[in-house]
């Protein structure tokens, strides 16, 4: 029965190896040279082993009669030994090197010891050479598969992030030349034809087109671009011919930065990875010591204690079985691979995670803190009303816009927009910005104060409250109240669903921080279903607030801060995990945050948490699977219920399963 199983397995190995060697191996770049030569060795040795197995015993027995007594046994041994050498010579060599470097206990040593031991037992009993060779063969198959699968998944993850441009078109003396994007200097005009990737960040100087940004953001809707628009690398030009003046080097361009970030993300190791590498350091020596004990102690006890025969070879065999199981590779490989695949899958969905550690921590998110502007709301303010004005509305707006003209705050921009004309900055003098209050300036020789109620109180001017929700800008001209302007921000359409999604993903508390008035904050929080709203905060207060929330959070839970990455860098870095959104093209945000959302869809936060959960789930499955199977096999081996085939399954089979399971982390689009 067992012979049948092994022969079938050998046939499968031979056929698979032949297919991989002859069909897949022909494809350019699909395998390394090392993998190809190993594949040939596996094929040859498996074929030879199968032939030797199928030869009837009397062929060798016949030799005794022709040559000399014992010749059959010798020839048989030599043939098997040759096969063993073909498949295992590199392992033996490495094991010897390891011993010379005083490093026993590595897997080569263990495999060498186990198989040489099995060979020796076989010679002694003129029995089953098959076992030693098959074990070595299956071990090599496992190693080959591991190296192939890891290489393949590495490539497929890079392909997913298919934003690396291969060339840039530069016009030289009337003809288009394809050049290496690294050689293009800042300020060069490059041509992007329909269907091509934009190689370098720049500004469009000629042409209109629609751009496919899905590789960057996961968003499938094309984006329109025309003359004067900024364009970022990694987008695909879909319709028209574009001429672009580059504004950055290739290395500084968005596509290069993103690729760099994703590739290096797995260098920041997760806690589970650290745990496993520490565990691997104890696991192997521990199993080896138990193997030694298993080989020596039971026979001694049998002889000395029970007066039975020692059965040395039985116990030695069991000990060798132990050694085969002792390699921690299945555990060690599957965890970084899971995180790597998870990071790759997330980046395909437009979520850049800057480290395995962050991907791991996201799963424990309990509190999510939002910055309101630009995160839950669109950050595009519009003047929605003007009340109690003592002068013409346009005049008041113009005063307000002029007073705020020095500021780059979104509010001042919206005032400018509402005012609708060019502002002559020379009309403004003595601008004094009072942080968290507003601005006092002299416009056309008249003192104008624009700001919130605190500013009015500070200046001792009576003001009228507004019943509208929104940001209220009270105006005082020449020391007298001149009315107020209501500016409201528009809540993003997905925000409500995003908060609900977070709750469904296990987040216990959502908090919104804003510099806005309490009334606005409460209204928005109630609309969206946010638990807590902290209003009228200065930028510095936000850090304090996050510190306070950090101290309240339950033990292992993590606090996530979500901001637009523009002026909340300190808060982003203070939180356990900082998420910046709408980061396409914003270097500052990519620098400061731990997780970067390429577009500004708040739904992606819940998605990031779900990806993290899935990934971590797979990691735990792999740990339990690998350790569980190995433990069971160890116990079975110790009681003589398992043989070396079982052991090699515990090693190679589990590793293959774990690698395949880890690859599932890539598929996150349905989460």
């Amino acid at each position: 029965m067992q012979a049948l199983i092994v022969n079938t397995l050998l046939a499968v190995v031979i056929l698979t190896a032949a297919y991989l060697w002859l069909v897949v191996g022909r494809r350019e770049g699909s395998m390394t040279q090392k993998q190809k030569s190993m594949l040939r060795r596996i094929f040859v040795s498996a074929a030879m082993l199968l032939v030797l197995q199928l030869l009837p015993a009397r062929v060798f027995a016949g030799l005794d009669g022709i040559l000399f007594p014992g010749a059959g046994r010798l020839v048989r041994f030599v043939l098997y030994l040759a096969d063993y050498y073909i498949i295992g010579h590199d392992i033996l060599k490495k094991a010897l090197k390891g011993i010379r470097n005083r490093r026993v206990f590595d897997e080569n040593f263990l495999m060498a010891l186990a198989t040489v031991g099995a060979m020796a037992l076989a010679i002694y009993e003129n029995g089953d050479y098959l076992e030693a060779i098959a074990v070595m063969l299956f071990y090599q198959v496992g190693e080959w598969f591991q190296s192939y699968a890891v290489g393949k998944s590495r490539r497929s993850i890079s392909d997913l992030m298919d934003i690396r441009p291969d060339y840039a078109n530069v016009e030289q003396e009337g003809t288009l030349m394809q050049v290496d994007p690294e050689e293009v200097e800042v300020g060069t005009i490059i041509v992007v034809q329909p269907g091509e990737k934009v190689p370098i960040d720049g500004v469009i100087v000629e042409g209109t087109s629609s751009l496919n940004t899905s590789a960057l953001t996961g968003e499938s809707l094309p984006r329109q671009a025309r003359e004067g628009d900024e364009i970022i690398s990694g987008c695909i030009n879909m319709t028209g011919l574009l001429k672009v003046r580059t504004t950055k080097d290739f290395g500084q361009s968005t596509a290069s930065k993103i690729l760099d970030l994703v590739e290096n993300a797995s260098s920041r190791k997760s806690k589970s990875e650290d745990f496993i590498s520490r565990f691997a350091r104890i696991y192997t020596p521990a199993v080896c010591c138990s193997a030694l004990a298993l080989a020596v102690l039971p026979p001694l006890v049998r002889v000395a204690g029970l007066g039975l025969s020692p059965q040395w070879s039985t116990w030695l065999y069991r000990a060798l079985t132990f050694l085969v199981i002792s390699c921690p590779c299945a555990l060690v490989i599957s965890i970084p691979l899971s995180f790597f695949a998870g990071i790759g899958g997330a980046s395909q969905a437009g979520i850049l995670v800057k480290g395995s550690n962050y991907l791991e921590a996201l799963a424990q998110t309990k509190i999510v803190v939002f910055d309101k502007t630009g995160t839950l709301t669109q950050g595009v303010f519009e003047v929605s009303a003007i009340h109690h004005n003592q002068m013409e509305a346009e005049k008041l707006l113009e005063y307000a816009a002029l007073a705020e003209s020095a500021s780059s705050h979104p509010i001042s921009k919206s005032l400018h927009r509402a005012c609708g004309k060019e502002l002559d900055r020379t009309r403004v003098q003595d601008v004094e910005e009072i942080s968290g209050n507003g601005v006092v300036a002299t416009v056309d020789g008249v003192q104008v104060a624009a700001g919130n109620d605190k500013l009015m109180k500070r200046l001792g001017i009576a003001y009228k409250d507004c019943h509208h929700t929104g940001t209220i800008i009270h105006m005082a001209v020449d020391g007298a109240y001149a009315g107020h302007i209501v500016i409201s921000d528009i809540v993003k359409p997905q925000s409500k669903a995003a908060i609900a999604g977070l709750r469904a993903a296990g987040v216990e508390k959502t908090v919104m921080l804003t510099g806005d008035a309490q009334k606005v904050a409460r209204q928005v929080a109630a609309d969206l279903g946010i638990d807590q709203a902290c209003s009228e905060l200065l930028p510095a207060d936000k850090v304090d607030k996050v510190e306070e929330l950090l101290s309240q959070k339950p033990g292992k839970g993590k606090l996530v801060f979500v901001g637009d990455g523009i002026n909340d860098a300190p808060v982003l870095s203070r939180a356990d995990i900082g998420i910046a959104m709408g980061a396409m093209g914003s270097d500052a945000a990519i620098e400061a945050a731990d997780v970067v959302l390429m577009d500004d869809d708040p739904m992606k936060i819940a998605k990031a948490i779900k990806i993290s959960r899935k990934c971590l789930g797979i990691v735990y499955q792999n740990i339990v699977l690998a350790l569980g199977v190995k433990l069971v096999c160890l116990v079975l081996g110790a009681f003589g219920l398992g043989n070396m085939y079982l052991a090699i399954f515990a090693d190679v089979g589990v590793m293959i399963l774990a690698v395949l399971n880890a690859i599932r982390c890539l598929f996150v689009s349905k989460l």
């Binding site: 590595d106 190693e143 590495r154 590739e263 290096n264 797995s266 260098s267 691997a280 590779c329 970084p336």
Partner: protein, 72 residues
């Protein structure tokens, strides 16, 4: 100072061993092996010449895993 080197190593556990060996090398502040991207990131201690330190790192890594390669 931090530098990144391309490496070649076949098994994940060997990568861990290389990382440990590199960390223990004199002149190395900390080292990280990224098995998935086949990179070794070394942070050198102050005042150390990366070239000489890397020779030692390479020797130490070869000792634990003869099959590995660091492209200096």
């Amino acid at each position: 100072m931090k530098k990144t080197y391309k490496i070649e190593v076949d098994c994940a556990n060997c990568a861990n061993l290389m990382e440990q060996a590199a960390r223990k090398t004199e002149g190395v502040q900390t080292a990280t092996v990224n098995f998935m991207t086949q990179k070794l990131i070394v942070e050198f201690a102050d005042g150390q010449e990366p070239k000489t330190v890397m020779q030692k790192v390479l020797a130490a890594c070869k000792k634990v895993e003869p099959d590995c390669e660091i492209f200096l």
